[in-house]
Each structure stands twice: as structure tokens, then as C-alpha cells.
Symmetry: C2
Subunit: 387 residues, 2 copies
């Protein structure tokens, strides 16, 4: 059974509405997925995740492998039971973190001549934990095995995410290796598609950085394999929207309509979601809404201020209004800007949760209205109202 | 109208059940009051406070004066509206913090020859902020004015809390000054008992450290004034239960039955509440339950382990049980020890809230059962079951 069904193709753009069906429930798309790196969406419990209206959340395989370890999660009956979240979950394969956290630390350590932290071979990647420096190896088979034990509804193939400043030659070589790893991930998965007794869907990942011919080649190859969905990876995806739109437009024509499309790490700004939706994307995740929230940067409808306000600004100390009049989150319903300003000024932990609830609900409400607008062929009106 | 009514005097001990009636609701006693120092019970929002079954919470005048300042709280309509907590609130007078935080910092600074941070005169106390070193002055009149603006249902007279190692002479002098300040607090309050349009009740505070004759003298004097309730202050109260019981037994015979009795800062251990209740106390507050929670020390019924477990202990990594079988908090209902252990190991902020919810609900449930036992004349049975 296919995980995805397109419900409505918007008349005036590539935007489309669809539905993901998993054994832990249905998710309407386009869908923004809050990131729950270490089996918690930072500062939120599972009741909060439900209350903000999240349909699906994301967990990070790299982090969960290091702490608590997939065997402990499996012993609890999988991630859903471990964190008491009954709805759908997606885990990445750890590839992105292995490379990004490894390289960040490598840059620091190289100056102290401590050598490389990431060693890539045809078989897989050896890397050191960012927590304690212990040595670990991920191969496509190991990553899939970990994802089986974690038990997310959607799991990702193991890939190499090349930096944008890598040479064309290296990017091509890494992409071809990612393709071979994609096939191995699929084979490893097909031996065991329901470790916990429910179905796990596997998505493939398109790489190729900013090179048009590589991206198209990658799209064609990944689309040719028996994946349940297709993701678009890459360092710039979501962090450089101009480059991201180019990449999306290169690859989407090669993707089947009956598989969901997922840009990994996209969602730095609420309006970025609308741009990606317009170009045919169904799924997104990004740590930015919660990370920005923890720094007091809160989303608003206000275009003039680029849809953000800094609640730490002294102007908010006596402001009795909610963060945003359009938002319907519990923070906006129950607390004033003045109170939030105070909580940040007083270094109160509660500030981080109330702000995270707001930014996430803001993204999810925008997606809710987006889905509605697509179905009514009013997507471009909605987009023009925001951008 | 009196704030307090005794409902039932236990037959076999001084334990009694009563009710506090405020314009923001009724509170059954004996009552444990979670501490919301900076207009939030640390990590909890107002929905959490309701869900743990709290009848009344405490705010700290010293902290709220420094951040956000009483005028900002008053502009929001008082502390209830500012923090969106519709139930009863008590504020202390700031006296305890002025002396304890001042003296802590003074000890550090004296080694660097930066001079004293706390200057006591007949008029009041000049002190430096622990936040930014700015100079402030509290007098009985200023403290009461701040408490009026904060708008708690119960406010406290301004007092000097002497350290236990102060000389007899100094303790006597400070107690006599505290008595004069009590009278001035009362006079300042009587000019304006409903700043925000609802009634504020004023409690007096007995001092005298560990000296029997001073404690009795203080009890007689404070009881002779027109306060709505009587508190017992002092450095050892709540932190040395043997000394605390002695002090309680010295003063209670001098206290009228129609006024509530409040030991300030008592509640380090769940069973400490039972001891104080047995000796005739009605109200308690303590930061320990939430502070211990943030360090992973969680309350349990288990006597052998002194009613605590350290969730960071490796033994809990795979333990699928809730923290405590007796507890009915949302953390125990929804999450395992294994998950909580992981959240602490992963430095997740959520750990602090889930643990705080547990420790506070544990104290509040114990008080709920205590009230029930008193009314059925079964208090000593309950106490013997715990201690």
C-alpha cells in the first residue's frame, strides 16, 4: 500500500494537497514536521505536541543512537511508546548529522592537530560522537537497522550530504556513492519492513548540491528505486531559498505524482514553506522555529518586520497584547508580550516552552490554512497575502 | 471577614483542617504552596499549576521588585493577570531574600574588600540587587506598597530574618525591630487593603531564632496585633526539623485558633509536612521540591530510600515503570523512568518540567490525603504509614 495520495492539485501552481497514511494515523500535506531530536520536541511534552496540532514529528537517528541508544528505545516498544507520542514519526538516517557535526568538530580540532573525525569509505562512515568522542560506524545497513529499532513510521535512506563548497568531482563521487547506499538501504529495509509489527516506509534522498545535471541524474535514479517517498537533501536546502527553489524545479519533473516530496531542513521562515509548497513540495522539517523561539525570536503575521519580533526588546516590557493576533496557540491565548518579555529577562525556563509552542503552532496553523487554500484553488491568494 | 476557619481539630494530635477564603478562591488547609519566585513556578505554566491541583502559590517580592518591577505587574492588573493564574497567591515581604541573598553575596565580596551589601537601620534596609548590584531600599512601608501593587491575596509583614549563629543580643535587638516593623507594616496596610479592588490579607511573622524566651515573646506580640494570619520565620525553619518542632511547640500555645499558622520555607521532605501538621501548622512553602526535581531527585513513597530516588542513576535507563506507583501526576501517568532518565542524560529541558510536575503533585497529593485523614481522625495512622 502506498503511503501517499494526492487529494487536490492547485490550478494555478504546483502546490498540491495530499494525505500520508501510516499505522499511527493520517497526516494531511503540505505538512511541517516539528523536530524532536532526542525523543522530545525541545521543551515540549507529548500533550503539547498534540495541542499545537502536529500531525507528524521527526526524530534524529544520530542523536538517539548516541543517547539513549536504539536498544533502549526498542525495549520500550519503539519511539512512540518511549516518548508517549501516539502519532506518526519520521526518523532521518543520521547521515546529515554524521557529516555536519563531524565536520564542525573537525574544523575545531584540526587546529589542535587531532586529526579527522569523519572517515568515509565505500562501506560507510566512521565518526566520533560529539558527546564523548567515542568511535561509531554507520553503514546503510547499520543505519536502517537502528531506524528499524527506533520504529518510526517513515525512515530515511543513509546518504552523504556534501557541503556546497565541495568540488564538482567530489560532489559527483559522493552522489554516486549515495546512490549505491540508497540501493543498499532499500535492500536492508526489504528484509524487515515491520520490526515492531507496524509498517515502516522508506524514503530515498536526492543529492547533487548546486549542480543541475547531478541533481537531475540523482532525481531520476532515486525515483527509479522502490522508495515510498522522495526527499531532497543538501546543505543549502532551506537555508538559501533562491538555491533551494532552483534545485526543487530541477528535480520535481522527474518525481512520480504518487510519492510524497520532502525538502529536508526547510522552514527557517514561515514564508519559506509557502515558496516550497508553490513549487510542489509536500513535507518539511526545520529546527529553526524552536531554536529561534529559545532565543526570543517569535513569528508574527507582520510582513514589515519580516514575520518576526524579538520579545527581549524593551518595547515589549509593558505590552499587554498577545504575541500575534492571527495566532491561536495557547501562549497567545493565555499570556501577554509583557509576561513573555519578563520570563526571558528573568531567565525563566518557562519562556523557552511558551515561545516554542507559539512558533511551532504558527508554522502548523499556516500549513493548515495552506492546505485549505490549495483545496479551494486559492493558494496564490494566500501566498500573496503573506509575501 | 476572617480569612481562616477551622473545620476539624484532629482528636489525637494538634493537626487541624481548615479553609482559607480569598477573593480568588478557597484553599483547604493544611496546604503546601508551590513557590513561583519570578511570577512562574519554575518550568510550569498556569495550566500546569492548575493540573497539579495547587490551591495557592507563592511569589517573591524581592525578585519581582527587581524584575519586572511592581509597576509593570500592577499595569497588567496584578500578579494574577500578569501570570494568568486566577487562584490565590501569597507574596512574602522580601525580608528573607534581602538578608539571605545580601549576606551570601557579602561573604563573597568581603574577601575582595568590596564592603557590605546590606545596611540595616531602624527605618529599613538598604541592599544591592543580586542581579546587577543596583542599590535598593526596603522599609516596612515600601515593602507593603510593593505587595499592594503585586496584588497577592495574602501579603507578609516586613521582617528581619536573623541567622542562627547571631548572638542572643543581636537576635533580641533584631526581633524587637521586627516587632516595630510589624506594627508599621500593619499601619501601612490599613491605609489601603484593596489596591486592585479585591481584599489583601496581611500576615505577621514571629522571629527569635532558637531562643525559647524570644520566640514566646515574639509569638505573644505578633498574636496581639490585628494580623489575618501568623507566620513563623527563621533560618532553621524547615531546614532543621528538630529545631523547627521545638520552635513550633514554643509558639503555638500563644496563637489564636481562628488565624492560620504558616511555617515559612518548610517542605524539604514530604514527611516534614506531616511533622509540622502534627504540631498544628496549616501552611507551608518551600523551593526544595522544584529545586530537587531539576537535579533529578524525585519523591517516592519508598521509606527505605528516604522517599527519594535519583533518576540519573544508571539503573533507571531501562526501567519502564513510572516514577512512583502511589503518585497520580501527569508525568507518572504518561512517562517511564527510562524516558525521564534519558531526558536528564540528554540535557533536555523537558526533564526539568516533568520532574517538577511530579515532585509538586506528590506534595499536594500528600496534603490532600492529610486533610482527608484529619477530618476522619486518622491523621496519626497516615503519618505512621509514611514515617
Amino acid at each position: 500500500m502506498s503511503i501517499f495520495k494526492e487529494i487536490h492539485q492547485n490550478k494555478n501552481s504546483s502546490a498540491r494537497a495530499g494525505i500520508l497514511t501510516t499505522d499511527h494515523g493520517e497526516v494531511e500535506t503540505p505538512a511541517f514536521m516539528p523536530v524532536g531530536t532526542q525523543a522530545t520536541v525541545k521543551t515540549l511534552d507529548s500533550a503539547d505536541i498534540k495541542n499545537i496540532g502536529s500531525g507528524i514529528i521527526l526524530g534524529n537517528t544520530y542523536h538517539l543512537h548516541l543517547q539513549p541508544g536504539e536498544d533502549i528505545v526498542a525495549a520500550a516498544g519503539g519511539l512512540h511508546k518511549f516518548m508517549n507520542w501516539p502519532g506518526p514519526i519520521l526518523t532521518d538516517s543520521g547521515g546529515f548529522q554524521v557529516f555536519s557535526l563531524g565536520l564542525q568538530k573537525e574544523k575545531k580540532l584540526n587546529s589542535a592537530n587531532q586529526g579527522s573525525l569523519v572517515k568515509i569509505t565505500e562501506d560507510g562512515v566512521a565518526f566520533r560522537s560529539h558527546r564523548d568522542g567515542s568511535l561509531h560506524t554507520f553503514t546503510p545497513e547499520i543505519a536502517i537497522d537502528i531506524e528499524h529499532k527506533l520504529g518510526a513510521d517513515i525512515i530515511m535512506a543513509f546518504d552523504e550530504c556534501t557541503p556546497d563548497d565541495a568540488s564538482y568531482e567530489y560532489t559527483k563521487e559522493a552522489m554516486e556513492r549515495t546512490h549505491r547506499w540508497a540501493k543498499r538501504s532499500l535492500e536492508a529495509h526489504q528484509t524487515n519492513t515491520s520490526y515492531h509489527g507496524y509498517r515502516q516506509f522508506l524514503f530515498g534522498i536526492i543529492q547533487g548540491a548546486g549542480h543541475e545535471n547531478l541533481r537531475k541524474e540523482s532525481a531520476k535514479y532515486i525515483a527509479s528505486l522502490d522508495f515510498d517517498g522522495i526527499a531532497i537533501g543538501g546543505e543549502s536546502v532551506g537555508y538559501n531559498m533562491e538555491a533551494t527553489v532552483k534545485i526543487i524545479d530541477w528535480v520535481v519533473p522527474f518525481l512520480p505524482k504518487d510519492k510524497p516530496r520532502y525538502t529536508m531542513g526547510l522552514g527557517l521562515n514561515p514564508t519559506d514553506l509557502l515558496i516550497a509548497v508553490e513549487h510542489g513540495i509536500d513535507m518539511f522539517d526545520c529546527v529553526a522555529p524552536t531554536r529561534l523561539a529559545r532565543h526570543g525570536m517569535l513569528f508574527t503575521f507582520n510582513k514589515e518586520n519580516k514575520h518576526r519580533l524579538n520579545i527581549k526588546n524593551a518595547a515589549f516590557a509593558t505590552d499587554q497584547k498577545p504575541i500575534d493576533a492571527w495566532c491561536d496557540c495557547s501562549t497567545c491565548k493565555n499570556y501577554s508580550r509583557s509576561y513573555l518579555h519578563h520570563l526571558f529577562a528573568a531567565d525563566e525556563i518557562l519562556a523557552l516552552r511558551l515561545a516554542s509552542i507559539h512558533n511551532l503552532r504558527f508554522m502548523l496553523k499556516l500549513m493548515q490554512e495552506t492546505r485549505c487554500a490549495i483545496k479551494e484553488d486559492k493558494f496564490l491568494e494566500l501566498k500573496n497575502n503573506w509575501i
